[in-house]
């Protein structure tokens, strides 16, 4: 098992180095002639107006909260699924109840109008 994780660790290095090398190579063979217009930010050929880094209205931030809840709870379900064999019927029903609660929560959110695009 440890070998496997060692492999993952090594692969992370490789996966970062390999594309980095591919990006660095053109730095030596590609031309580099920047000018003011070329390095300007693209906005359809017009000089950009105002800042891009602003307090942007993200209409789906509430979805992000819902996502957090759901994702974490789902991850907790995985061990239950893996150990399904060893679970007595009662434990299975507990898990099912848990999922049903998630579903109920979703329906509640839906009813509350959270899932509407603001």
């Amino acid at each position: 098992m440890l070998t496997n994780w060692l492999y993952v660790g090594l692969f992370i290095i490789v996966a970062l180095v390999l594309p980095a090398v591919t990006i660095i190579v053109p730095r030596f063979i590609a031309p580099k002639k920047p000018n003011r217009i070329k390095v300007d930010v693209y906005e359809c050929g017009i000089e950009t107006v105002g800042e891009a880094w602003v307090q942007f209205k993200v209409q789906y931030y509430i979805f992000a909260l819902v996502f957090l809840v759901f994702d974490i709870e789902t991850v907790f379900l995985y061990p239950w699924a893996v150990a399904f064999d060893k679970l007595p019927l009662f434990a299975v029903m507990e898990g099912v109840l848990f999922i049903a609660l998630l579903l109920a929560g979703l329906v509640y959110l839906w009813r509350k109008g959270v899932l509407e695009w603001a």
């Binding site: 906005e43 359809c44 050929g45 107006v49 105002g50 942007f56 209205k57």
Partner: protein, 579 residues
């Protein structure tokens, strides 16, 4: 064509005993309205006389008389001919009251008249230049305005004809020596001034919200994949929602009208091809029709030519609508597949255009009094095969693949709604107007050519959204096929042009407004002749341009993605918009 044959007894004169007089110049029609009565007159015209659709607003510079004239063409949305009215003001510092409050569709057209002719419209909410850039010196359509490479007042230029020596004016007069700047002006340091005013107008719109967020002003275009050319929309975004939208155009402007006024009458026919370059045949027809009206009895179009005109115009409509549907689907994000399927049919039709005119897109096929050439052998059979066999099948196929597609419906239904009242008020034309439930088709409402001989329905849809504007194009293709089938069956033998083709012709002095139902809407040409070999005034009522008046109204409150497809559903071609 007009129902103002009895101008002298028109009830309008009773309603306005003062300030309104019939236009009694030879070859002219309509009424001359005093500038101070204009708004009152227009309101009465709209509300009491039913002329609710303002088709065209333009100006004419009568330099010799020292007058500037604004010409309005109003129609009833229930059909019938035009009511022409004019306002005459002195040439120096002309001021005319704006009609935007009565006819919102006058918005862009008045801006254009201000931009190109320097007529100031008092009361216009946003009187800025529209085709030229802010900071441009002068008003180019004025007769005393000369461009940088000015050579001669009229074509053909003496240097090139009849001698035939070809040279370029810019070689004799190289760049830099031909322009005079004001003394304190340095072109290198000049920065555009128009944008600041534009952005300021877009920024001032703020709404209260419990969350502190900022709105962003974004330029969509001119270099944007879905603005169908160099069209620019400046939008204020609140998240993904479009709060405000302002169209900016003129990037493809070449002052078509100025060039047209310098050309001879015949020279303008190929020039109209370059307006809406997807439907050159229809453009030809509009222009030829206006000049034929001026010529009056001096010219009669032979029967066969009339039929050929209808055939070519209807094929053009199919080409254009197929293209419009294809690009709309592209705007929707359907990675080119529907577009390429649609284009296959277009290519087959362009084959026919190439066979008859020698060119696939810039056809230059119509002539005063007929068309340029007869059909070459084999083309008739090819057309029959297309119209009776292939096209109906392929249109059904397109319909089957796209119309009931869930994503297409979800994206298009209820988006960009334009009510019938708004559509009429904004002078929207063509598919945009008819998709809003107004069954107005120039071919029926004010027939030209031989359209009164054919059986076809005016396509109309009643929701006014993007989906209906898509559907109506399919409907119109089907109606065009119907007309084509009848026309091909009835096509008579005979001449295709009246008399022998002439290079130059005498056109009697006067004015004429010729309009055809182009694929994109009502395409009008207003031509004023002073009796010489070149038109005194040559104005194009471009449907792509005027349909854009309603764009902001349709887009506001929708999402960015919607704004793109709304623009796509209007179906503009920048060659025509910017002229």
């Amino acid at each position: 064509m007009t129902d103002t044959t009895l101008v002298a007894e028109h009830p309008l004169l009773e309603r306005f005993p003062e300030g309104v007089t019939p236009d009694e110049r030879k070859g002219y029609e309509g009424f001359i309205v005093a500038a101070d009565r204009l708004v009152e007159f227009a309101t009465a015209l709209r509300d009491e006389f039913g002329y609710d659709y303002l088709s065209s607003v333009t100006g004419v510079d009568y330099l010799p008389d020292g007058k500037m004239e604004v010409v309005y063409h109003a129609y009833k949305s229930t059909g019938g001919g035009a009511l022409v009215f004019k306002v005459q003001v002195p040439r120096e510092n002309p001021v005319v009251p704006s009609l935007v409050s009565v006819y919102p569709g006058a918005d862009f057209q008045e801006r254009e008249a201000w931009d190109l002719l320097g007529i100031r419209f008092e009361g216009h909410p946003n009187l800025k230049r529209i085709l030229m850039w802010e900071g441009f010196a002068g008003h180019p359509l004025r007769k005393d305005w000369k461009e940088a490479y000015f050579e001669e007042e009229k074509k053909p230029f003496g240097s090139r004809w009849p001698g035939g020596a070809v040279h370029r004016a810019e070689d004799e007069n190289p760049f830099g020596k031909n322009v005079v700047y004001p003394p304190d002006f340095d072109p290198e340091k000049w920065t555009p001034v128009g944008d600041e005013a534009l952005y300021a107008g877009l920024r001032e719109f703020k709404k209260d919200d419990d969350l502190k967020t900022e709105q962003v002003v974004v330029n969509l275009g001119p270099q944007h994949p879905s603005t169908h050319g160099v069209f620019r929309m400046v939008v204020t975004l609140d998240g993904e929602t479009v709060v405000r939208l302002e169209p900016v155009m003129g990037y493809l402007h070449r002052n078509h009208e100025k060039i047209g006024e310098r050309n001879t009458y015949l020279m303008n026919i190929p020039f109209t091809d370059r307006l809406d370059y997807l439907s050159s045949m229809s453009n030809n027809w509009g222009y030829v029709q206006a000049v034929e009206k001026l010529l009056g009895d001096k010219i009669q179009v032979p029967e066969r030519a009339e039929y050929l005109r209808v055939i070519m115009a209807e094929f053009t409509r199919i080409v254009n609508h197929i293209f419009a549907i294809g690009t709309l689907l592209n705007d929707l994000g359907a990675y080119f597949t529907p577009m390429l399927y649609a284009l296959e049919e277009r290519e087959l039709i362009l084959d026919i255009f190439e066979a008859v005119s020698g060119s696939r897109m810039m056809c230059n096929y119509f002539r005063f009094g007929g068309v340029a050439r007869d059909l070459p052998p084999g083309v008739y059979e090819k057309m029959r095969d297309l119209v009776f066999e292939r096209l109906p099948r392929k249109i059904d196929e397109l319909d089957r693949y796209l119309t009931e597609n869930e994503v297409v419906r979800a994206r298009c239904e209820g988006v960009g709604v334009l009510t019938p009242e708004e559509a009429i008020a904004f002078s929207a034309a063509g598919p945009v107007l008819r998709a809003s439930g107004v069954p107005y088709d120039v071919r029926r409402a004010d027939p030209y050519g031989i359209y009164d001989r054919f059986e076809f329905d005016v396509a109309v849809r009643y929701h006014g959204d993007v989906y209906d504007r898509y559907l109506i194009r399919l409907d119109e293709i089907r109606q065009s096929i119907r007309i084509l089938q009848q026309a091909l069956d009835q096509l008579p033998e005979g001449d295709v042009i009246f008399g022998s083709p002439k290079y130059s012709m005498r056109v009697p002095a006067g004015e004429a407004y010729g309009r055809v139902e182009g694929p994109k809407g009502e395409l009008g040409f207003y031509v004023v002749s002073d009796g010489s070999a070149n038109p005194w005034r040559y104005h194009v009522r471009a449907p792509s341009f005027i349909n854009l008046t309603a764009l902001s109204r349709m887009c506001e409150g929708d999402k960015v993605a919607d704004a793109i497809i709304i623009l796509g559903s209007i179906d503009i071609v920048l060659g025509e918009t910017d002229r």
